[in-house]
Assembly symmetry: C2
Homo-oligomer: 157 residues x 2
């Protein structure tokens, strides 16, 4: 098991684009999601992963991730995830010694852009780029599983 | 993906024990379970598997199964599956050219014994051993995920 420590922010300007890589298109969905855990399948080109995460919202989450055949992932997305599939393009954006991941969502939540940064410890200090706005780490509306369920959200930060 | 075709029966006598192997103890739980799919973790000694199954009850189900580290499985059972864990001993019992699996459950459903047989096609014909009673293939109460939720059941066949 890995423990995932990450913080998540709304993106408020295009300032990140200058430093971003070419991005990669991801398709991901939730094969099951209940109070204790969510199970996500993610497909990116010929690579795919099945990920079990604990159901808590916030900074630190248990995460178990396994590479799986891309064909399996495609079948799960088509057959088991129903309408709980989101597409997004993920860009890597270096900033002040850390690599941020900026997710540009497509489909029903088009227009939503979120930035995540992984931390080594819960009290790590780092510089916030000026293109991020309000933090949504603890906001359940911005969990990927919630976005996949197309729950309503407001983009005010 | 594999398609799992199996039939499940109540066990009505100890007649299977004479032909059974030594059995192996399994601990399994559901990390997530909702309308479309269930995700099961199963631990047997040093081996473990994560299995995604479509939510339908009955003869034919989609199944995606991956071997995972036993340590991961133990952590998931302890941390994510909460009270949805069942223990059972699984015996292999050859009968008339097929190998039946007889599950003797422990814990809250102690006393329950079920027999499963895997089929090559939905219309395969095979001989029923005299120690099986009523078929429960299509009875949602006898799905493993339902048993894990400790839902009530009656053993009348």
């Amino acid at each position: 098991m890995a423990v995932e420590i990450e913080r998540k922010f709304l993106v408020i300007s295009d300032g990140w684009r200058a430093g971003a890589d070419a991005g990669r298109i991801l398709r991901q969905g939730y094969v099951a999601h209940d109070g204790d855990a969510s199970v996500r399948v993610r497909l990116s080109g010929n690579e795919a992963w099945l990920t079990v995460k604990s159901g808590r919202t916030g900074l630190v989450r248990d995460e178990f991730e396994y590479a799986i055949p891309a064909a399996d992932a495609a079948e799960m997305l088509d057959r088991l995830c129903a309408d709980r599939v989101v597409g997004k393009t993920r860009y890597r954006v270096p900033h002040d010694g850390k690599v941020w991941e900026v997710d540009v969502f497509a489909g029903a939540v088009e227009g939503l852009i979120l930035a995540e940064v992984e931390m080594h410890s819960v009290d790590e200090r780092f510089d916030l780029p000026d293109w991020v706005g309000g933090e949504v780490t603890n906001d359940p509306r911005f969990r990927n599983s919630a976005i996949a369920l197309l729950q309503g959200f407001e983009t005010a930060d």
